[in-house]
């Protein structure tokens, strides 16, 4: 097996790696107030040395294996494949400890925080998945954990709030602004400003000031690292034709794309949350609706008003309900390396029920957005089949295609939404 360093060296520099100042093309950077400079600079100057140090890699890999349950299976979804006319594999991140890919990053960051001598961990969370993954690793390492969560999300996501508390974390409601994920992120950043010495901020996605996007991307890249050798075991080739993943901030998509970025034959497809529809005013599809701007410390695409005030997004999936996107996904969009599509709340719900019935797997609503595009991208006639836009035709797949879908999380947390759908259809 190749080492992480070898794989990292083989990755396409212009896509996977930002420049020294954290820019991917025109996106990235570290737009932070001076009060955060020392902390961010400390991270920037040390993160690569720390995470590629032998002892770190050993502990990281052991925890991923024995604690998080990696490698997660690459599962050939036979009935789904039959329906859509391709060889479809699901990368089962839903089988990770805590139920989603988020733990890959929090394990990496808690080990990093320890090596930086930090005694206190803060995090932001929307639906609570990253909050739970952070509370989990803090319990594992016996470190104080404070999670900021929008007041509205606390009401909506009671079971995850209870999980965090049971794991020993303190959950602090973010009561400013719109009282959701973006405000929880603001509060976490303010906490960091006010506690500059002993605290490490575990950001949950490939967002934030440099070096966070690159650091989180590297921790999540284990997803595509595994896909390559697993696919080789199953098909005799490492390279799929398509990789499809949902995008909010972009951490699972980045992880699933990472080691394919320099394989031009692989079609990378990112699926955003269209919410109730792109033109309804209730959407979270940042590349479709956003403009270049600065949010949470980096230049990227941001959903905002004409006057540059950040707007409140909408998605049925709390994990995709974010008005920005990481600078690397923004660059993949801007450069055309990845194709960005969107799925509505309704399409995601239907895709979740379809996977449950065809494969016996209840996916998270986030992951269901990726599944929802199978119908659109299938070249095999299905009835009813959506008209495909001309510019999307090259992304169609057929019976010879090998399609990987990143199943980023499991659906337990979304049962209320699924029950509501069943109730409505009675």
């Amino acid at each position: 097996m190749r080492t992480a360093k070898q794989i990292e060296n083989s990755a396409h520099k212009s896509y996977a790696s930002p420049n020294d100042q954290g820019y991917y093309g025109k996106f990235g950077g570290a737009y932070i107030p001076e009060m955060l400079h020392r902390n961010v600079e400390e991270l920037r100057s040390r993160y690569l040395d720390i995470i590629y140090e032998e002892g770190f890699q050993k502990e990281f890999r052991e925890l991923l294996k024995d604690y998080a349950g990696r490698p997660t299976p690459l599962y050939f979804a036979g009935r789904l494949s039959e329906r859509y006319g391709a060889k479809i594999f699901l990368k089962r991140e839903d089988l990770c400890h805590t139920g989603a890919h988020k733990i890959n990053n929090t394990i990496g960051q808690i080990l990093l925080a320890q090596r930086l001598g930090k005694k206190r961990i803060i995090a932001e969370t929307g639906a609570g998945q990253h909050g739970v993954a952070t509370a989990t690793v803090c319990a594992l390492k016996g470190v104080e954990c404070i999670v900021y969560m929008g007041e509205k999300d606390i009401e909506r996501q009671a079971p995850n709030v209870a999980r965090m508390k049971m794991l020993g974390a303190t959950v602090i409601p973010a009561t400013s602004g719109s009282k959701t994920l973006k405000d929880a992120t603001n509060e976490a950043i303010r906490d960091w400003i006010n506690n500059p010495n002993d605290t490490h901020y575990i950001i949950g996605s490939v967002v934030g000031p440099h070096p966070y996007p690159d650091m989180v991307a590297r921790f999540q890249s284990v997803i595509s690292e595994e896909i390559r050798w697993q696919l080789n075991e199953k098909t005799g080739g490492e390279i799929p034709t398509h990789v499809i993943a949902c995008v909010g901030g972009g951490s699972n998509a980045t992880g699933a794309f990472y080691h394919f970025l320099d394989e031009p034959s692989v079609r990378l497809i990112a699926v955003e949350a269209a919410g109730q529809g792109l033109d309804t005013g209730y959407s979270a599809a940042t590349t479709a609706l956003g403009r270049p701007g600065i949010l949470h410390g980096s230049k990227s695409l941001v959903m905002q008003t004409q006057d540059g005030q950040v707007t409140e997004p909408h998605s049925i999936s709390a994990g995709l309900d974010y008005p920005g996107i990481g600078p690397l996904p923004a660059y993949l969009f801007d450069s055309g390396r990845a194709k960005f599509l969107s799925a509505t709340d309704q399409e995601a719900l239907e895709a979740a029920f379809e996977l449950a019935k065809l494969e016996g797997i209840i996916p998270a609503l986030e992951s269901a957005h990726a599944l929802a595009k199978l119908r659109y991208l299938s070249a095999v006639a299905l009835s009813p089949r959506a008209e495909i836009a001309k510019q999307d035709e090259e992304f169609l797949f057929d019976r010879d295609s090998v399609v990987i879908i990143c199943l980023s999380g499991r659906g337990d947390k979304d049962m209320a939404a699924y029950m509501k759908k069943m109730e409505n259809e009675k």
Binding site: Q21, G29, A30, Y31, I32, P33, E34, M35, H37, R38, S176, G177, K182, D183, N186, I189, R190, I193, N194, N195, P196, N197, R291, P292, G293, I294, L295, H296, G297, V302, Q304, Q306, D307, G308, Q309, V310
Partner: protein, 262 residues
């Protein structure tokens, strides 16, 4: 000569820089508040442009931003209000604002307005300088600084007790007007340990920087203002004043009472 340089030439100490949020407490209060500050002894006005996500600010200033945005404040609207800033007998009943005015705000709304247009319009209106906490020095040097200079605007960087000596010197070199000394461990509006602030300021003093130094964060009354002024050229009062303005009926009277009590 630039207004800020002129001020520091005339007055070496106890410079009072007052912060207010544009469009707060009511949309049309911007100029009234500025005028009241000028009349009651402010030497500089730092005018905050409201933003939905003001990262460096504590709850009181955040709230004033939210209220101002709900009132309908935008950069465009603000620039309309400031059209009479330097013109005697225009929007103001009995004269214009003569003291230096800096705009304080975050990058995103400025980018959407258009960075160069923003600098050009601000300069035409008679604004003297900018404070943009989330514009870091690398981007300032490589992209935005030349535009700011082109329109003759001063740009003020922040330094904290954690800013290394080398970096303080660099930020001092890049800043014009003055240097803004803040506590590292604080968003706006937190109480500060004045002994630590003093140590920070004495360290800065030893460096013999080119710019005057104003102290921000944690200055709330006469006592903390005087203490800060012992080792700096002046100080900035923000949160305490915004708190006083909240729910004020008479802007003039509230400002007068606040500054005379301070």
């Amino acid at each position: 000569m630039k207004r800020i340089d002129e001020l520091f030439k005339k007055k070496k100490d106890k410079i009072l820089n007052m912060y207010c949020t544009a469009g707060f407490p009511h949309l049309e209060d911007t100029l009234n508040v500025m005028k009241a500050l000028q009349e009651n002894g402010a030497d500089i006005i730092e005018l905050g442009m409201p933003y939905s996500d003001p990262l460096a600010d504590g709850p009181v200033i955040q709230h004033s931003n939210t209220v101002a945005l709900q009132n309908g404040m935008t950069i465009k609207k603000l620039f309309e209000q400031l059209s009479g800033l330097r013109k005697p007998n225009s929007a103001l009943s009995d004269g214009s604002i003569a003291i230096p005015v800096l705009l304080m705000g975050y990058m995103n709304p400025i980018l959407q307005y258009g960075f160069e247009k923003f600098c050009s319009d601000a300069s035409t209106l008679g604004v003297d300088g900018l404070i943009i906490p989330d514009l870091p020095e690398y981007e300032y040097e490589t992209e935005y600084g030349s535009t700011i200079k082109k329109y003759g605007l001063d740009f003020v960087f922040l330094v904290t007790p954690e800013t290394s000596e080398e970096r303080v010197r660099k930020l001092d070199q890049l800043s014009t007007g003055f240097l803004y000394a803040v506590s590292s461990s604080s968003t706006t509006g937190k109480d500060q340990n004045m002994t630590d602030v003093k140590k920070h300021l004495q360290n800065l003093k030893r460096l013999k920087l080119k710019n005057p130094i104003l102290v921000g964060f944690g200055i709330k009354d006469k006592q903390s203002f005087d203490a800060a002024c012992e080792d700096a050229n002046g100080a900035i009062i923000a949160t305490a004043f915004i708190k006083a303005l909240e729910g004020a009926d008479d802007i003039g009277k509230t400002t007068k009472n606040f500054l005379n009590a301070s």
